[in-house]
Amino acid sequence: MRIAGTSYMDSMVNTLNLMSAKEYQLQNQASTGQTISAPEDNPAGMAQALNLQAQNSAVTQYSQNVSTLQTNATVAGNALTSLQTITEKASEIATSADGTSTPAQLQADATQVTQLIQEAAQLMNTQNGSQYVFSGTNSSQAPFTVSTDANGNVTAVTYQGNTSVSQSEIADNTSLAVNVPGQNNSGSGARGVVSDSRYGADLFNHLISLQNNLQSGNTSAITSTDAPNLSKDDDNMIWQVANNGATQSRLQAAASFATTQQTGLQQGLSTVAGADLAQTLTQLSQAQNAYQIALQTSSQILQLQQSVLNSLP
């Protein structure tokens, strides 16, 4: 084949261009650690990577949801544990108040029950941030207000919240309600913390009745009505504490599941779009060597051409 003078230069420039393009690509891969950066690099891989990223982002969000819910559940759990102590104490007072108690003792007990009611109402108005945890979904509203008479005796505790709960997603198609209504006498839905007609629980009214009966010295009513009622409240509170514990462990499980999922998705991402550094760096140094060799060969050919011209007379 006849080789024209310009052919050397043209093909040299062409070859060097191709080689630098390859080198540039490899260098990019090595520095970013990715084989795919733009849609053109690998359209299907790019789409796969974007989908994995979307999943990863959703899972990250789920784990954030879980951690928010965990805070909620912990706050509610602490309040419930304290409430359980109150119901236990009230039951003890009701049990000990019998015919043998002196009126002074009964009066003292009545004062203590009044304080217990106040304390319980305060606990039921627990907030997580600005959110009342026991008012159902009426979260900006303090759920319980306590009415007292001139002597400081509690006459009524009214519920201001509602009976609804809100569901939050903790995984794909899995949702969980963390907030609980303080009172639910509707006969359906989530179990009320202090009052639920289905289980005979009505802590505040039972406590008020105990308070009144202690003050009036009506020990027989205490034994026949208040003590059994308070025992139902006790049972309800035990269920609430257990339920909260179960929710917390579900959240714990969801959190670790999300972490596992994230690890898996990130592995998937790096399989799809990540560069094998050892391989990339080897290829890069090969490409660099090839470039060097091409440059040397080209300069030798040019020297050869020069010597052909020089050798002619």
Binding site: G5, T6, S7, T32, E40, Q53, A54, T60, T68
Partner: protein, 474 residues
């Protein structure tokens, strides 16, 4: 016998022929780096023989013509490849540009390091922004009365809306640039057509007077190749050496006459097409950068713009239809979340920007902790939407990116193929028509030696004539 005087003439003719060859070699060497140049050779032929008593006797050499060494087949292949190259190069440029404007790049280190920190940081690409929006709805659903979650929802929505606006505006600008580029290419093509017609005239004149117009043929060849890059051409060589040029079946140059030119026209949608200028015949081009630009504009880029717009308008209607039924923290209802109708004008209800408590997250009035609307909006992110061909928002976005990436990656492959084929063809043509320095240097010596020896003949004949003249005096 020619006789001494005729031999003297023979020597002189020979010297002239060698000198001409030397001149042409000089021309070849001078154009060694001119890519459009076709090397030339002097055609030598024996001059008219003289009848002698020994029969016809040779009288030396004459230069009959200066010819180009070219391969018309290779030239026509290079022309048709130029159309292919022009087509794909313009597609590649347009789509590369669109890729940058879309800003959909993968950055594993930004999102893939397992950080569980907030995912609502601002990032430039739509797929991320979409994820962020639905995540922000999740956050509001989980903490409905948390002002931070509401604020970050409004921020996410705001950045998604501006990303849509930005992408839409960028791609619109690109669309406008592509239209301008079609116009510019048409202007260049018209200039080349007119140059070709003029060169045709000059070549016809030179050939008619029995000469050759090699350098004009070279110029015309280059014009034809440049024209082929813009639009695929059909050429016919006429007997007078002129070349007639048709584009899309319409003859535009016939001989030295420019019968028609190209013009752009607007079919009504602002997207320029090409027709002939005087006869106004719409042209269907099958190659060249004009058609490449048009196809990129109406093909991958057009689809991308449409899909982007569909996605934005679907997002607006879907989100608003759920959101309108919600209640904000103050018990108000009925407002929209997004404003606008498509990717170019999507925005966030301005009341929310100043007061995120107006985000209607609750499904019932006066229950601030109710999250049913926020939850439904969060779940919208994982639902298949019929307006998006039963894809979720995020998978529709990935699919759009994939389809666009395929178009660009195909253009890249085609450009690479063209480059290898073109390089091969150019090498082949160079091997026929290119100037080889070695060959020309060798020719230089040959012609020089031949010139010297021809001169030697004259010297010898001269000496012989002197001998003849001196025969009488001595």
């Amino acid at each position: 016998m020619l006789g001494l005087f005729n031999t003297l003439n023979l020597g002189a003719r020979s010297m002239m022929a060698e000198e001409l060859s030397l001149e042409v070699t000089g021309q070849n060497l001078a154009n060694a780096n001119n890519p459009a140049y076709t090397r030339q050779t002097v055609q030598l032929q024996t001059s008219t023989p003289t009848p002698t008593n020994l029969g016809l006797q040779g009288t030396g050499v004459d230069a009959s013509s200066i010819q180009q060494v070219s391969d018309p087949l290779l030239n026509s292949q290079i022309q048709s490849e130029a159309s292919v190259g022009g087509y794909w190069n313009s597609q590649q440029t347009a789509l590369e540009n669109a890729q940058t404007q879309l800003g959909e790049f993968l950055n594993l280190s930004a999102s893939g390091t397992g950080s569980t920190t907030t995912s609502t940081t601002s990032s430039p690409d739509l797929s991320d922004q979409l994820n962020n929006l639905f995540n922000a709805f999740q956050s509001v659903a989980t903490s409905p009365i948390d002002p931070t979650a509401r604020q970050s929802l409004v921020n996410s929505a705001q950045s998604l809306a501006s990303s849509f606006n930005q992408a839409s505006q960028n791609l619109n600008t690109l669309n406008g640039e592509l239209n301008t580029s079609v116009g510019n290419d048409v202007t260049s093509a018209n200039q080349l057509l007119s140059d070709i017609a003029i060169l045709n005239g000059q070549i016809a004149k030179a050939t008619a007077s029995g000469g050759t117009a090699n350098d004009m043929v070279d110029s015309r060849e280059q014009d034809l190749e440049n024209l082929a890059k813009l639009a695929n051409t059909q050429t016919t060589t006429n007997s007078d050496g002129t070349i007639s040029v048709s584009i899309g079946g319409q003859q535009l140059v016939s001989g030295s006459k420019l019968s028609d030119t190209l013009a752009t026209y607007d079919p009504g949608n602002g997207q320029l097409q090409v027709q002939t200028a005087t006869s106004a015949t719409p042209l269907t081009l099958s190659g060249g950068s004009i058609q490449g630009t048009i196809d990129a504009r109406d093909g991958a880029l057009g689809t991308l713009r449409n899909n982007l717009n569909t996605m934005a308008s679907t997002l607006i209607t879907q989100v608003n239809s759920i959101y309108k039924n919600g209640y904000d923290l103050n018990g108000n209802t009925g407002a929209g979340f997004f404003t606008g109708t498509g990717s170019s004008n999507i925005g966030v209800n301005s009341a929310l920007l100043t007061d995120p408590s107006q985000v209607q997250a609750a499904g019932v009035a006066n229950a601030t902790g109710d999250n049913s609307v926020a939850l439904a909006l969060a779940q919208l992110g994982s639902q298949s939407i019929s307006a998006l061909n039963n894809q979720t928002f995020s998978s529709a976005c990935s699919l759009d990116v994939e389809n666009f990436g395929n178009a660009l990656s195909n253009a890249n492959d085609q450009v690479n193929n063209y480059n290898s084929v073109n390089t091969m063809l150019l090498n082949q043509r160079d091997s026929v028509s290119g100037v080889s320095l070695e060959q020309e240097m060798a020719n230089l010596i040959t012609f020089q030696k031949a010139y010297e020896t021809s001169a030697q003949i004259i010297t010898t004949v001269n000496e012989m004539l002197t001998t003849v003249v001196n025969m009488k005096t001595s």
